[in-house]
């Protein structure tokens, strides 16, 4: 089962101190890798580490066993410093089968550790994964440290007493592996044990078998003879602000943020949606929160989803719809109606790689043009972007505030990576979040539906059921002065200006752009939006430490931009815009401010590596 080299008792080994570690659990879709990663995440959070995770699963629900396209993996980066990304390179790869090794080995850093289940390295599996010869016997894994264990066999052995069949017994091998990794990093098994007992309450022998596997893996680490270069590691707790914390995924943060936002303005939520990857988790989460004044409606298609939400807003609720790029495309005409009738509406776009069906489970941020420009005619709306799972909470509340204050649709951009990944999040005191109550008007005197607030240019929100306010609205152009249908050309100019002016004017009601790192005195600014925040921030931080004069700004507000953004950008010699698209924000910035911004672009379905951005900074400043 084990080992290449001299044998030592590991309990006499000193535990090695590490700043941070990146582990990826990889296996077949059916191997329970997401669950394993999720449990390790909780255990690391409980141990006080800061962390960031990246679940990566195949597009096929049940891909054939043992194939490379059926590999499901979960990456976690944890440590004692502030962790902003799921990590560039792996320190540890857990490969449950040859296909996982095939797919993931290129992400491993030189000298990294591979823990693999030799029990799954049958000739058939090796061939199926695309290896010509058994990688355990040739030189292809030279330069890595290998921990070869017959995890399958050991798992079968340790769950024997519970009388499960072969299939169910083997299913426990992820817990065995988790037990071993828990031992390596000194994680507590208690939470996972409790969780297993609860999850399998109705099938106690399965619960016991899984717990036994977890303990057996842990005991293996404690007692077995393991090669000299594997030992216990100590990753101390991170220094973070005092408070109560939890792990939060982007999808949860959006759902909860929307609910808190709706409560702060005293509206009921109507959420109309249609299933689409990777946006569906939001529908699922909200569907479970009906008792919090949330109505969810799974519509017959994307168009009906948004139309029902607009109908609900018209009737006085907060209408919300959610989708991913292809679905947002279908909603385009209805968004135009919400802009024309000036109704509050929130459109959440969990972006994915495209065009068309593209790579549904892979992440990208290539719907920025669609968000800002993607409608017929001059149809401005508010565009906000979230930068991390926890940030989704804050930005969702802001989306609600702007939608109701300015009577406008708000496009909230997140992405597949943000929706699914998690990070520790300090639970906020909800009472400290400002209220922004909505008043549906009721006074018929001098009423017309397009009467605007002088300051915000928002129109009246008069809802059906209010005596004396009966009126008709629609997509035909409306008279500025009466709200009635108007085909008058001058009036159309005035209304177009009013709609654009209203959105532009929002820049007076949002915070000024601030720096994440550095300031105007630096030479180069890296500007980003969305989930690239983590790698950009770390790359800028590292570059500054190396003496480069680099600053960072990261946008939440993309339409409108903060009013000081132009001045900030013009003060820099170099402007670098990393994006997971072919260059969208960079084009908008160049068009808007006539600045010489340069893009750093990639669309590989994966977040940026810190090193890629550092390289680009270096190259620019040498340039």
């Amino acid at each position: 089962m084990v080992v290449n080299e001299p044998i030592k008792q590991n309990d006499v080994l000193p535990s090695e101190h590490l700043d941070s570690v990146v582990i990826r659990f990889a296996g077949d879709s059916g191997d329970g890798m997401q669950l394993t990663g999720g449990q390790f995440t909780n255990a690391s959070a409980v141990a006080g580490n800061d962390l960031s995770t990246f679940p990566d699963f195949p597009a096929e629900i049940r891909a054939p066993v043992g194939t490379t396209f059926g590999v499901s993996s979960f990456q976690i980066h944890f440590g004692q410093k502030k962790i902003l990304t799921a990590g560039d390179e792996l320190d540890v790869l857990v490969a449950m089968n040859p296909a996982a090794l095939m797919v993931e080995k290129s992400s491993l850093k030189k000298g990294g550790l591979i823990i693999l289940d030799t029990g799954s390295f049958s000739d058939r599996n090796i061939k199926r994964a695309g290896f010509d010869t058994n990688p355990l016997n040739d030189t292809s894994l030279e330069g890595f440290r290998l921990l070869k264990i017959d995890i399958s066999g050991l798992t079968m052995e340790c769950v024997k007493e519970f009388g499960l069949g072969k299939k169910d017994s083997l299913r426990c091998k992820n817990l065995w592996t988790l037990g071993l990794v828990y031992w390596m990093y000194g994680r507590s098994r208690k939470e996972t044990t409790d969780w297993l007992e609860k999850k399998f309450m109705k099938v106690p022998n399965i619960a016991s078998a899984n717990v036994a596997a977890l303990n057996a893996g842990h005991a293996f680490g404690e007692t077995a003879e393991i090669s000299g270069d594997i030992s216990k590691y100590n990753v101390p707790a991170a220094k973070v602000d005092p408070g109560t914390y939890r792990n939060i995924s982007g999808a949860e943060a959006i759902a909860w943020g929307l609910i808190v936002g709706a409560q702060k303005c005293n509206l009921k939520i109507f959420f109309g949606s249609y299933p689409i990857t990777p946006a569906s988790p939001l529908l699922h989460i909200l569907s479970n929160l009906k008792s919090l004044s949330v109505t969810t409606f799974q519509a017959e298609d994307e168009i009906a989803a948004i139309c029902s939400a607009i109908g609900a807003s018209y009737a006085g609720s907060l209408g919300i719809t959610s989708s991913s790029g292809p679905g947002i495309a279908l909603k385009g005409e209805a968004i135009g109606l919400a802009i024309s009738t000036e109704l509050p509406l929130i459109i959440v776009n969990s972006q994915r790689a495209g065009p068309s069906t593209g790579l549904p489970t892979k992440t990208e941020q290539s719907d920025l043009f669609q968000a800002v420009y993607g409608r017929n005619a001059d149809a401005p709306l508010v565009v906000l972007a979230t930068k991390s799972p926890g940030d989704c909470f804050r930005v969702s509340i802001e989306a609600v505030r702007l939608a109701v204050k300015f009577m406008t649709p708000v496009m909230l951009l997140t992405d597949g990576y943000l929706s699914n990944s998690t990070e520790p999040w300090q639970i906020p005191d909800l009472d400290k979040i400002k209220e922004f109550p909505v008043n549906h008007i009721s006074n018929p005197e001098g009423f017309h539906p397009f009467f605007r607030d002088k300051e915000t240019l928002a129109r009246n929100w008069a809802i059906p059921g209010t005596p004396g306010l009966e009126h008709r609205i629609g997509g035909i152009e409306k008279s500025y002065d009466s709200g009635h249908i108007s085909y008058d050309a001058d009036n159309h100019q005035k209304m177009t200006d009013a709609r654009i002016g209203k959105i532009k004017g929002i820049s007076e009601f949002i915070p000024l752009q601030e720096f994440e790192e550095g300031d105007e005195k630096d030479e180069l600014v890296v500007i980003g939006w969305g989930s690239t925040f983590g790698p950009i921030n770390r790359a800028v931080f590292n570059s500054r430490n190396k003496g480069y004069s680099v600053a960072q700004i990261h946008l939440t507000y993309i339409s409108p931009f903060p009013k000081n953004l132009g001045d900030i950008l013009r003060s820099f010699k170099y402007i670098l815009v990393p994006e997971m698209n072919a260059g969208q924000l960079v084009s908008i910035l160049r068009a808007e401010y006539l600045v010489p911004a340069i893009g750093l672009n990639k669309v590989e379905g994966k977040p940026f590596k810190i090193s890629e951005i550092e390289e680009a900074i270096k190259a620019r400043m040498k340039g």
Binding site: N42, A45, V46, G48, V240, D241, P242, T244, Y245, R246, N247, W256, I259, V260, Q263, F270, G272, L289, K290, S291, L292, T295, F297, A299, E300, D301, I303, A304, C307, S308, A309, I310, G311, A312, S313, Y314, A315, G316, S317, G319, E333, G336, L337, I427, L430, I463, P464, G465, T466, P467, G468, E470, H471, R472, I473, G474, G475, I476, H484, I485
Partner: protein, 337 residues
Amino acid sequence: MNVQPEKLKANDFASDQEVRWCPGCGDYAILKALQRTMPDLGVKKEEVVFVSGIGCAARFPYYMSTFGFHTIHGRAPAFATGIKIANPDLDVWVVGGDGDMLSIGGNHLIHVLRRNVNLQLLIFNNEIYGLTKGQYSPTSRIGTRSPSTPSGSLESPISAVQLALGAGARFIARSLDTDQKHLPMVFSRAHKHTGTSLVEIFQNCIVYNDGVFDGFTAKDVSAEKQIKLEDGKPLIYGKDRNKGLIIKKNSLELTSVELGEKYTESDLLVHNEKDRTLANLLASMDSPDLPVAVGVIYCDPIETYDQLISDQEKQANEDKPNLKINDIINSGYTWKV
């Protein structure tokens, strides 16, 4: 002191907007009939919402003095669903033409019917696209010559009523723009029904498809070519009320017989609004020797979608009373630093 509000009149439901349909358009008659019906429905003006898509018929909301939402092509049922779920106290009416409801909006029509949202849905069927200047529509008969089908259209027309039955509609009726007695009766019945009430109205487009329904609506033929359905009454028609419908021998089809020596009234089928099979047979009568069925073809109420949604929400509140978002956010693993 309790002052009884004065009963509203038809005129009270007319908006101040100039009506812009072509002179002689059947839509005028429908508007008039509905404005005349509204005061008798016992609803408050501010609780009524007319929702429409795009097309000539879809201008309807502008002419009613109630709340109105003129939306986008084909999607009115989806907007109306959101409105009704958000505020079930509203009295929601959806208005659209055959292109709006049966072509671009066909999907939404199917699903609003299947869900049984409590609203009225009026299809003004003129078998043509009027607003876009006369192209054939999904209800146009085969061979219809139009700007886009100069050699005649090739497709079989869709039947709104049969489609609705297939989609699981619980109230289906038909009427005619010009029949100012029948139309208000059908509107009242549609309004009284709890659930989605579909009303197909044969409407004459005087500009692009004039007289397309003359075969059964013209004064001289209407009594012979229409059968006005009444629940529990025999299926009888004709100027002299001397014709009726029976099931054909050895076949599940309706046939028309003459009353006299061979058949008497007691041989005729009796209309039963809850009989789906009969509804199907009545809806599919389209041969020259059979009349066109008008009136309430099918009516068999069940729970409405909006009611079921609020029941579920009530249940959720009972299951987790006093649940706060704060509890959710603080649930699961939390740790203190």
